[in-house]
Amino acid sequence: MSSLTTTDRLKDLLPQLFNEQRQEGNYYLRFQLTNDINALLDLSYVQESVTIDSSQITAVPNLPEYVVGMMSSRNQVFLALDLAHLTGFAPETINQRQYQTVVVQINSGKNNIQSHEVNLYGLTVKAIQGISRILPEQFNSVTTSVPDTLRPFVQGFVQDSVDECSFVIDLNRLITTQIQS
């Protein structure tokens, strides 16, 4: 085996990497909202995902409680929001050494057509889990198992396993109803 080249070893270890196959479905970012609740976010909103030290987040006074502070990425400064707090749960990311943050871009042209400016927000979550490809038929309609606070911002949910499911969050509605209103 030692005679094999590094490429051969990679091929041997990760066969799916080289056997390209066409996969259907949209990409979603999967993350942990609270300890109990997993959530999904359409990847088209996501600009990047970073871990950021608390020292790089500047606390800003006189702002709502769900705002963690001001942060910067790729030469742009924008607000870091605690998503759990924003969706009505207890704040999940307070006084941490590092924050796992999903940087999203939201087109505010819907409400303000003149400007095509893109608003960036850093959403701090408990833990970023990864990316999942989900087919549209996998979505189920909203059931009663959705928490009341979250219900207005849930587009649907995916049954991951028997007792676990992930809620797809409609980020546009969340931002518009909670922040821009």
Binding site: E48, Q129, I131
Partner: protein
């Protein structure tokens, strides 16, 4: 006739010197029977000078003794000069006089012939003669030996001696006994024992029967010294003497030993002197017949006790005296040699008949003549006597008739008086003691008076007896009851002792049990001691192992702590990996985002990024699992550490406990030792107690026996008292028969009371 007889007698006595005087006495008896006829007592005149010995010396003059001592004469055979004999034996006489109180010993010396005469006359009480003469006297006069001399020669004592035949040393003709034939020979005396008989005996053994004819000439030198001198001078060719005579002469310096030669030399162990014959016992000290046994005993004792260094022993050249030896060899020798007292034994030849029995013929003739004379004389005397007897008989008859008439008158008087007395005294025979006899004149009157006195006395005695019998009876009754009481008490005592004995026995057995139990306990405590000891060692081991456990636990807890630290480090590493996985995931997400922006072209990249993200996600999950595991390990490690600490403290505690236990075990050990020694002492004490109780039992048994014996003896006493009472009753009855007062009809009781008053 008288002259004739005297001549005949002297003739006989000369020729028959050796056959001696008893035969002579027989002749005299025969001749003496003629005495009444001749009426001449010649015996005393003729015999007197022959038999009287000379009194040569006296140990102590009779005048000097305070009390009159009995004089005892001792006949001493003198073979040699008389002075030497006196010097030799006088101290022995003095010694005996001193040693035997009440007796004075006197010496009478005599030669061979004179001594025989003295013995025949029984003039002496003791003899000091040679063995030959003693044997003769023993046979003839019943002389008895008391002691044998221990002759001292050349410094040693010897009780035997023999004869020696000598000749001059330069005489070549005589070398053996048979060479003596037809030679001149000298002996001491024809009846000398050592100086002739012994040599004759040796010749007899050789076959020589008539020694006088064997020699050319046989002469007698009277003394040993004379014989020695005769041989030395060459007067005779050979001679015989007793042993040691030659050595003595040599010692005195009279002759030299080398000048002589011994014929037929003999060797006897322990006898150093030259001798030619067998050995015979030494001189005896003999007692004549008729002495008191007491005197003989005293003399024998004195002789045997004579000290060897006393003057008497020294003078007699002896070491004293010893018990009498056997003189049988001397007898045998005399039988062989046909000499007195055995001279009648052997063949009687015609010559012997004429020679030896001439005296007998003479005495027979004398006897016949004497008897005839006596018959005539006595017949004549008896006729005269008869006539005188007739006359006196007639006178006697007359006087007898007169006295018979007188006696008859007297007897009648006496009879009447006696009858009167008897009548008066008849009631007394039936117990009436009040009667009295009438007093009359004469002998009967005296008897009556005597009778009256007797009856009076009898009456008094009867009264006294009655009185005493009464007293004895009453005291006997008292005694009887008290003896009975004693007997009962003794029986009760015996029973009590028996009971005590049984309880003592029980006690003894229980003591025995205690002793056994104590012994068992001692063994058990000993076992306990041993086990405690073992426990102590086990405890030591336990302490050691606990200490080891403690160190082991300490080591283990250190290692566990280190493990905890390692787990901490691992968790740090896991955290790092987790972070890396997170960052990888985020990068994969970003990559996917960028690929999605690229549109169709980024499709492949998106898939790769997606897979990288999936891997990062898996890594994160694995690190989470690891973190959980590590956390679990850390928790458990902490628990283990805590448990270890508890264990360590527990180990410390248990070490302390074990040490305390060890201390208490040591206490147990010493205690059990003490118990063991105590038990041993208890056991010993109980053993001695058991012995003591045994002794007590024996003593009690002895007591019981004694009390039983006492009860038996007291009952015996009671019986004896009863029988005494019976005897007393009989006594009273018999006393009651006596009538002692005039009040004859009165009862016996009043008699008693009167008597007691």
């Amino acid at each position: 006739m008288q002259k004739n007889l005297s001549q005949k007698f002297s003739l006989i006595s000369k020729t028959k010197k050796s056959n001696s005087t008893w035969k002579l006495a027989l002749v005299l008896l025969g001749l003496g029977s003629l005495m009444p006829t001749v009426n001449l007592p010649f015996v005393s005149e003729s015999i007197q000078p022959l038999v009287s010995g000379k009194v040569l010396a006296q140990a102590t003059p009779p005048a000097n003794t305070a009390q009159e001592d009995i004089t005892v004469k001792v006949g001493v055979l003198s073979r040699e000069a008389t002075d030497r004999t006196i010097a030799k034996w006088q101290p022995t006489m003095d010694y005996l006089s001193q040693a035997v109180p009440g007796y004075t010993f006197e010496m009478v010396t005599a030669g061979f012939d004179d001594m025989r005469a003295i013995a025949e006359k029984n003039e002496v009480d003791f003899f000091l003669v040679n063995p030959g003469m003693y044997v003769e006297f023993e046979a003839d006069f019943g002389v008895n030996r008391l002691a044998t001399m221990k002759n001292l020669r050349l410094g040693d004592a010897y009780t035997e001696f023999g004869g020696v035949i000598i000749t001059k040393a330069d005489n070549q003709q005589i070398n053996e006994l048979k060479d003596l034939k037809n030679k001149t020979f000298m002996a001491v005396s024809p009846i000398s024992f050592g100086g002739w008989y012994m040599a004759e005996g040796v010749l007899y053994d050789m076959g020589v029967e008539e020694s006088e004819k064997f020699f050319k000439d046989l002469s007698y030198g009277k003394t040993h010294d004379n014989v020695i001198k005769a041989v030395a001078n060459g007067e005779v060719e050979a001679g015989t003497i007793r042993t040691d005579a030659l050595e003595r002469a040599v010692q005195r310096g009279e002759v030299k030993l080398n000048d002589f030669k011994v014929i037929n030399p003999q060797e006897t162990p322990g006898f150093p002197f030259l001798h030619s014959t067998p050995l015979y016992p030494e001189w005896p000290f003999a007692a004549a017949k008729g002495n008191s046994l007491e005197l003989e005993e005293l003399v024998a004792k004195a002789l045997l006790n004579m000290p060897p260094n006393s003057t008497a022993a020294k003078a007699s050249q002896a070491e004293g005296w010893t018990v009498p030896l056997n003189y049988r060899p001397v007898h045998d020798l005399f039988i062989d040699l046909d000499v007195a007292p055995y001279d009648e034994i052997g063949q009687i030849t015609v010559e012997d008949l004429i020679k030896d029995y001439l005296w007998l013929w003479v005495s027979l003739i004398g006897l016949i003549l004497g008897l005839g004379g006596y018959a005539i004389y006595s017949q004549r005397q008896s006729i005269i006597q008869e006539k005188e007897n007739q006359k006196s008989l007639n006178e006697l008859n007359k006087s007898l008739e007169q006295s018979a008439a007188e006696q008859k008158q007297q007897r009648e008087d006496l009879e009447s008086a006696v009858v009167g007395l008897m009548e008066a005294l008849e009631p007394a025979s039936e117990g009436d003691l009040t009667v009295r006899a009438q007093l009359t004149d004469g002998d009967v009157g005296i008897i009556a008076d005597l009778f009256n006195a007797i009856v009076e006395n009898l009456k008094d005695i009867a009264l006294q007896v009655k009185d005493s019998a009464g007293q004895v009876s009453s005291s006997l009754v008292q005694n009887e009851s008290s003896v009975r009481e004693i007997a009962e008490q003794a029986i009760a005592e015996a029973e009590q002792i028996q009971a005590t004995l049984s309880s003592v026995e029980q006690m003894s057995s229980s003591i025995q049990e205690v002793a056994e139990n104590a012994e068992k306990t001692a063994t058990i405590s000993n076992d306990a001691f041993v086990s405690a000891k073992e426990g102590n060692t086990v405890m030591d081991q336990t302490v050691d192992s606990i200490q080891g456990l403690r160190t082991t636990i300490g080591d283990t807890s250190k290692k566990i702590k280190r493990l905890g630290e390692s787990a901490q480090q691992i968790s740090q590493v896991v955290a790092l990996i987790d972070e890396i996985a997170l960052k990888t995931n985020l990068l994969a997400i970003n990559a996917s985002v960028e690929a999605a922006r690229a549109g169709e072209l980024g499709q492949g990249f998106t898939a790769v990024a997606e897979q990288v993200g999936a891997l990062a996600e898996q890594s994160a999950k694995a690190t989470q699992e690891i973190a959980q595991l590590i956390t679990g390990i850390q928790q458990e490690t902490q628990e283990v550490v805590a448990a270890m600490e508890t264990g360590t403290s527990q180990v410390v505690d248990s070490t302390r406990l074990v040490e305390a236990t060890k201390v208490s075990l040591g206490t147990v050990l010493s205690k059990s030792q003490e118990i063991d020694s105590l038990m041993k002492s208890i056991s010993a004490a109980t053993i001695s107690q058991a012995e003591t109780s045994q002794t007590v039992t024996e003593v009690m048994m002895l007591n019981s026996k004694t009390s039983q014996e006492r009860s038996q003896s007291s009952s015996q006493v009671a019986q004896a008292i009863q029988s005494t009472t019976e005897i007393l009753g009989k006594l009273q009855e018999s006393v009651a028969q006596f009538k002692v007062s005039e009040a004859e009809d009165v009862e016996e009781d009043t008699v008693f009371s009167a008597a007691s008053v």
